[in-house]
């Protein structure tokens, strides 16, 4: 268990800045998620922490000790790779014992520790199986056991569930969370799946194009996105460009200026981006809405109905609780929209 500090860590490949100077504080015992689309630098960030990439600038401290230039062997960090990186010619047991033997753990201790690690991921029964005979989910468990058997101070996960099917992904992610709670190992978990990050992380960072856009608890990020990107990536918000007037109204394409209620955090007047989460749009069946819209498509999923609407010069996503509203609207229907400002945010452009 250790705290991790990244101070202005940066990595550049040729002329491409994979990670811009990045500063992060991860507390001891924390489960920290790193979320972002593919190519945003999140895996590079993880590899910098693990020591597989040397940073071009900045320092990395584990429990206050500078490990920036330590080799991966010296860091005492466990990593679970996206493709698991199990050694194909070894059994499950030998894979898990690999690190213990490499670190010259006394022979009598190896067996019990491997068995304990395999038990914690419910794989003890398959200890003597070759890893090539395992299913994807089982391989994933072995990879986790191999990492935790060394009792690392820090555990890194690089999209560990991306090769599993949907049902197994849900089950495994709960197990990972349980295991982390039980062991208390500080964990950094990289993923592109916002549901996974929100469900698992105590705190998380959203990355884009090599930069951390925002870091905080999942609720902080969801409720108060700092940038339009965070609102769109995490909350699925529709982004609408508009202009904030000095009088405190918002001009959006094709509509009368919208009045912004008090209490909504607004940037200085000028060009702005309005981020509207799907649950922030309600469809009025009558005439009382302030914005005109046309239904493009609707998708009934039981509890909720999702709409795609043409409004304010763009495609707007909306989500309604099916039972709380009227019958589903057919494509082509003209409706009025109302914005629920607690699910909207305004950002300077």
């Amino acid at each position: 268990m250790a705290s991790l500090t990244l101070a202005a860590v940066a990595r550049r490949f040729g002329t491409f800045d994979a990670v811009h100077p990045t500063t992060l504080e991860i507390a001891s015992g924390e489960f920290f998620g790193v979320l972002g689309p593919s190519g945003c630098g999140k895996t590079t960030l993880l590899r910098l922490i693990a020591g597989y990439e040397p940073p071009d600038a900045g320092t990395i401290c584990l429990d206050g000790v500078d490990i920036t230039h330590a080799s991966p062997r010296e860091r005492g960090i466990g990593m679970v790779f996206q493709n698991y990186a199990l050694f194909p010619h070894m059994t499950v047991f030998d894979n898990v014992a690999f690190g213990l033997r490499a670190r010259r753990v006394p022979r009598p201790d190896v067996g019990p520790r491997v068995t304990a690690a395999l038990e914690s991921v419910k794989m003890a029964a398959k200890a003597s199986a070759p890893v090539t005979a395992l299913s994807g989910g089982e391989q994933q468990r072995v990879a986790v056991a191999r990492a935790i058997v060394l009792r690392p101070r820090l555990l890194l996960f690089d999209e560990p569930l991306s090769n599993l099917d949907a049902a197994l992904r849900l089950e495994t992610r709960e197990e990972i969370r349980e295991l982390q709670r039980a062991t208390g190992i500080t964990t950094v978990y990289v993923t592109h799946d916002q549901g996974e990050a929100m469900a698992l992380a105590d705190r998380m960072a959203v990355m884009r194009a090599g930069r951390v856009e925002q870091a905080g608890t999942p609720a902080e990020l969801y409720d108060a996105p700092a940038t339009p990107f965070v609102a769109a990536f995490l909350g699925g918000a529709t982004l609408i460009t508009g202009e904030l007037t000095a009088e405190g109204t918002l001009r959006v394409p094709g509509e009368h200026p919208l009045r912004i209620p008090g209490g909504v955090r607004a940037p200085a007047p000028g060009p702005v981006v309005l981020a509207v989460k799907p649950e922030g749009v309600s469809l009025a069946r009558g005439d009382e809405g302030e914005i005109g819209a046309t239904v493009l498509s609707s998708e009934y999923t039981g509890f909720t109905t999702a709409y795609r609407l043409s409004a304010m010069g763009t495609d707007v996503k909306a989500l309604e609780v099916s039972s709380a509203s009227g019958p589903a609207l057919a494509p082509g229907a003209r409706v009025r929209l109302r914005l629920n400002w607690t699910h909207c945010s305004l950002h300077a452009q």
Binding site: T43, A50, G51, Y52, S71, P72, R73, R75, I77, G78, M79, F81, Q82, N83, Y84, A85, L86, F87, P88, H89, F98, G99, A102, R103, T132, Q139, R146, L150, N163
Partner: protein, 562 residues
Amino acid sequence: MRHRPFARLLPWAALAPVFALFVLYPLGATVARSLHAGGGLSLANYAALFDPGDRVNFEAVGNSVLISVLSVVFSALAGLFLAFVFTQFRFPLRSLLGRLAVLPVALPPLVGVIAFLFVFGETGIIPRGLQVLTGASAPVLPAGGMTGILLVHVYSFHVYFFLFASAALGSLDASQLEAAEGLGSGSWRTFRTVVFPALRPGLLAASALTFMSSMASFTAPLLFAGGKHFITLEIYATKLNGDMDLAAAQSVLLTCISLLFYLLLTLGPARDAAFARKGARAPGLLRTGAAARSVMVGCALALIALEMLPVAAIIALSFAREGSWTTGWIPSAWGVANYAAFFDDPGMLAPVANSLLMAAMALAACILFGVAAAFVVAAGRKRTVRTWAHLVLTMPYAVPGTVVGVSLILAFNRPAIAGVPSLLVGTFWILPLAYFVREYPVVVRSVAAALEGMDSSLLEAAAGLGAGAFRRFRLVALPAILPSVISGGVLVLIASLGEFVSSILLYTYASRPVSVEILAQLRLFNIGAASAYAVILMGIILLLLRISGGLLAYDRRFSYVL
């Protein structure tokens, strides 16, 4: 699927007589003859082989084993080094150079050896060039004797290691190495426990192949051995002396060694199934500084330049005026006379025409028999049955060319077998027959692999849709195996066109192939003419590879050769 017994027995019925007559009977005749001495059944011939008092035979076996062990060691070093450089580093023209690196396997054995002789031999360009440069009284560092043979072997056989190791290193996942490092493993431990196990199956296979090929090597000892004895040369010499009993015993010994290694090769450890690779980048097994890396890439490039030299030299020498290469380090007069001669005297083209005709005949036979044999192999229900059927049907692959020659002589030098005329020795037919026996296993291997990889549910689906056996073969199985038939066929053609080892034992003047003619010209010191024949042979092979490369644009094996 429903199998009619008739349909299942048909390929066997077609195969069995051919296999019995042309593979089993000649080998059996050789074994029988080897046990024949002094008019009765005896082990005397074998006793002679292992008699330390019999210097020649004992030395021949010893030298062959020694050269084979050395060939494995040095081919492995060269091949592994090139494989490391080509998979670990990025440098300009890497993929083109990688293809050039495998060129030596596509050279006909005799062409490779004489090209090597012209460049590195005692009167070769480099030793004489160094002599001129240094003012020494004799050629400097000529490759001859054991060293010469070893160099020729390494020249040809390091390609096996290069190909096997490149494939293994290329499929090694970078994250496995990173995982090992992160788990606390040092470089040496990671190499020993992660990298080496990935290389091991390929290394074993390449070693077995190299040992087998070195034991069977005939051309290099023939031109480089000087007074030294080698088992293949002894078989040839004993046959020329007319002592067929001893030649048979030597052949049986050599074949047993070869078969042993072929067994090892076929039944050896299977490669571990590789995991899916996702997000893996170029692996960096070697953490090297820029200087070390430049030195290694430089060495690799120098090796490949050395590899190209013999080919370049033989092309250049084909333009040398006959008799103009006497004391200089290169010939003194040049011209196109060697090629013009082919137009002045069409009779000179006879060996080329012979080779083309005989290779085409061998090709037809190889495809007919090879495809049928592949279907027989693939029909086996159990894996072990398939493996053993494959092993037996491709057995001639492990029989050295010299032995094929001797066994065919022993089998078909009598006027009739059971009343059927069977005197083939001394006729035109014996050479295409030898090429067929030597080369058909290539087609079996290639097609059987394709059938193994074919989804059997395709045939079941076709049957379910109402297609009969012939339609299933024509519309489903044939398209699946056609690329393998073509690639196997091209290999048969290339090998038959340049075949030398059996030919030298079996040819008649009227049916002499290109390779035998090249040796004849060389013996007359017609270096230009020998080179011109070699260049024509290489040209035909190049053309074949080009054509088949076009036919098989997607076939990796060929994209590798050219």
